[in-house]
Symmetry: C2
Subunit: 214 residues, 2 copies
DNA sequence: ATGGTATCTAAGCGGTGTTCAGATTGCAAG
DNA sequence: CTTGCAATCTGAACACCGCTTAGATACCAT
């Protein structure tokens, strides 16, 4: 009997057979296809042919369900960034370039997941420790990349990290959500990303007292 | 009789006496005090001692109400930015500095209004012409400031505009919403703003081929 | 005074998140 | 194998929400 393995929670199969997992998958599908706002516990339950109260036996509520999915998203996001940085040239700023590109591209490709992690919705993700834990390695990548750029310079590396993060987040939001105040025919997101990262890196280099060229 | 002035819509006073305006004020108060998500047409109506269906005689629905308030917010936001730029030193990058500071500070002080304009909620603000019109001058400020920085250089000014906007938006979000992935004890938002703008300006200068100092 | 129009109300539709008592089922111990 | 516990699921309900409709009410210009 393989019932001993508790962490292999795929075995849970009572009346429905692996609800929880089905709920997670179904909800993620809705997030990807119809967007974050379209998620509704009742609808998910209905779609799975199960009572509308059933999900509450696997999640304390909608917030927790979304928090679990957010933690998943953080993990996959982190892996994506790690891969990108790993396959970049062996140069600190080339790594930063790859990191920023990967960040923005992930955010544009997986808008729903991205908004789940960084969007402003009712959920206080920060209150779920699982989410915090899942997000920490992602942050660590950024820290190591920036540490490489900063080298032994005496500057506030954390500030540079947050600024890099901010620019990526801002660009992703601007391109992805096409906010108002976005008229200039510069609809070319690709160029925007390129120039944005270039300006970021040039700014950091200047801030560190490094010469302009690579 | 002062009934001829139609644009002075404060005179509208039937059963309740200036509902519409009361709804707008009450909703704005909720946005400021309890946040955007706490807005509910029914609650507003109840709070004003009026039927829960009454608001629908002044707004086609919740979306339109929020769109009207968003347009207001854009106007006040634009005025704030204009003032800041106007009282800055007569130098292109000093103006950009003032603009960015004013942007971020407004976003941090008026989080509710800021999220109404730039947050991700159910409302498609872009579909309301009034919002577009109200946002255009705000964009124009940015355009003129960046135009001053760019001068006669042959670069894509619109891209630089959008990147500046993105960094401001990203920083505002990061500091204001304290997203996850924000552990570094660099809780000093003031320093973050300072370094952020400094890096942005240095990056733009480098992108334009200008020397580092001012 | 009268008619039209703007305004407001009451009631209702369908949707949501959530809770609760009770029915059902699987599993493990006796 | 039976018994009992605990996990799982259901049906009904509560309190909200946005929105619509039919009808009552009040104002204003004629």
């Amino acid at each position: 009997m393989m019932s001993q393995s508790a962490d292999l929670e795929a075995v849970r199969s009572y009346h429905h057979g692996d609800l929880r997992r089905a709920i997670l998958e179904s909800t993620l599908e809705i997030i990807d296809k119809q967007g974050l706002e379209a998620v509704s516990l009742r609808a998910v339950a209905r779609r799975l042919g199960v009572s509308e109260a059933a999900p509450y036996h696997h999640f304390s509520g909608k917030q927790e369900l979304l928090a679990v999915l957010a933690a998943d998203a953080y993990r996959s996001f982190g892996e994506c960034l790690t891969t990108a940085v790993g396959s970049a040239a062996d140069d600190p700023f080339a790594r930063l370039n790859a990191l920023a590109r990967a960040y923005i591209e992930y955010g544009l490709e997986s808008r729903g997941r991205y908004r789940l992690m960084f969007g402003n919705h009712m959920v206080d993700l920060g209150e779920y420790e699982e989410v915090q834990v899942a997000g920490r390695p992602t942050r660590a990548i950024l820290e190591s990349v920036i540490a490489g750029c900063v080298g032994s310079a005496k500057v506030d590396a954390a500030a540079i990290e947050n600024i890099s993060w901010s620019l990526c987040h801002g660009l992703t939001s601007l391109i992805g959500e096409s906010e108002i105040v976005f008229d200039g025919g510069s609809g070319d997101g690709e160029r925007l990303i390129e120039v944005g990262i270039s300006i970021l890196i040039a700014g950091i280099r200047a801030h560190l007292g490094l010469p302009a060229a690579s």
